[in-house]
């Protein structure tokens, strides 16, 4: 039985399976990867490392995307 972790995504607490990668987080949240960026605990997570970067209990994730801006 898979353990679960709690992660702070964009200021909201979300429960995710332990060992989940950043790529899988986006999939699970239904986020289209286009125009998207990720910060893990305040550090930029390069897109090339999303498939191999594992999320840990208590991590702070910022998932950003392109929005209208002046």
């Amino acid at each position: 039985m898979a353990a679960s972790i709690t992660v702070l995504v964009n200021d909201a607490h979300i429960e995710l399976p332990a060992g989940i990668t950043l790529t899988a987080v986006l999939d699970q949240l239904g986020v289209d990867g286009r125009g998207t960026a990720l910060a893990q605990n305040g550090e930029v997570a390069p897109r090339s490392e999303w498939p191999t970067t594992v999320v840990a209990e208590g991590d702070r994730l910022e998932i950003l995307t392109v929005a209208q801006g002046g």
Binding site: N10, L29, G30, V31, D32, R34, G35, T36, A37, L38, A39, G42, V44, A45, P46, R47, E62, I63, L64, T65, V66, A67, Q68, G69, G70
Partner: protein, 262 residues
């Protein structure tokens, strides 16, 4: 491409940069982008909103306009650098419109944080287009730090007050070795024409278009205004004279029997 704008070695046919902020809908935004004929448009980085229908990404894809991410909302060099780095990942571009503001009432840049951020981003390999106030000293510092373009304001963001201090813009242009892009304050088409006549290389408009009563028509107005100002700047205007200078010659004037000119 006639009379292209060069930024960091790339050439653009249009000298109008449009911001995407403030549009009432993505449909209107898309139509305005098309009407403006812009080739570059600014975007922001914001948290994903699963409830929002459609995406700016789709608009960019359909129109083929190149996105220029900004760092709007940042008050410190640290936040601005981080935001630029995130945008680089999101959009696969090292170009950034750098904004570091001092407060949300004036949205004027914080000179010290702005310089710090510009230096850090240039060091990190970014192509930095720096939003700044109209201080010729700050503009020169940003240029000397390696910014690819300097973007002085005409007036506070969204104020629509036009170019409050053309003399400062003109002094900035005197010492410019990179493109000077008039950013912020444009309220109407003639403001954009004036910017170009002063010698600016390009103009950025956001609210002036997206918040006009008819954004698409205003986008078309801005497109023509920037062209008008550019052509006028290059055509070489007539000098200003205190008194009249007849456009119709007096030579060959008929004698019709009445009094001649005094």
């Amino acid at each position: 491409m006639d009379d292209p704008l060069h930024i960091a070695g790339e050439a653009f046919g249009s000298r109008l940069i449009m911001g995407t902020g403030g549009a009432p809908s993505l449909e209107v935004l898309e139509a305005a982008l098309v009407a403006s004929r812009t080739e570059i448009t600014t975007v922001a980085m914001r948290r994903i909103d699963p409830t929002s229908p459609g995406s700016v990404v789709d608009v960019l894809a359909r129109t083929g306009v190149r996105p220029l991410p900004n760092t709007a909302g940042c008050y410190t060099a640290r936040d601005a650098v981080r935001t630029a780095q995130l945008a680089r990942e999101a959009l696969d571009t090292s170009w950034v419109k750098l904004e570091v503001v001092a407060d949300d009432h004036t949205l004027l840049p914080d000179p010290v944080e702005l310089l710090d951020a510009a230096e850090a981003l240039v060091d990190d390999g970014f192509t930095v287009l720096a939003y700044t106030n109209d201080d010729p000293v700050l503009a020169l510092r940003l240029q000397d730090l390696g910014c690819a373009a300097v973007m002085p304001l005409g007036a506070p963001i969204g104020s629509g007050l036009g170019i409050r201090n053309p003399h400062n813009i003109s002094m900035i242009l005197d010492r410019a070795s990179v493109p000077i892009i008039l950013d912020a304050g444009i309220g109407t088409a003639s403001d954009a024409a004036i910017a170009m006549e002063l010698g600016c290389d390009a103009v950025l408009v956001a609210s002036a278009v997206t918040r006009a009563q008819d954004p698409v028509m205003m986008a078309a107005a801005m497109e023509r205004a920037v062209q008008a100002g550019r052509l006028s700047h290059q055509a070489g205007r007539i000098p200003r004279r205190r008194y009249a200078e007849p456009s119709t010659s007096f030579e060959g004037l008929a004698d019709l029997g009445a009094g001649r000119r005094p």
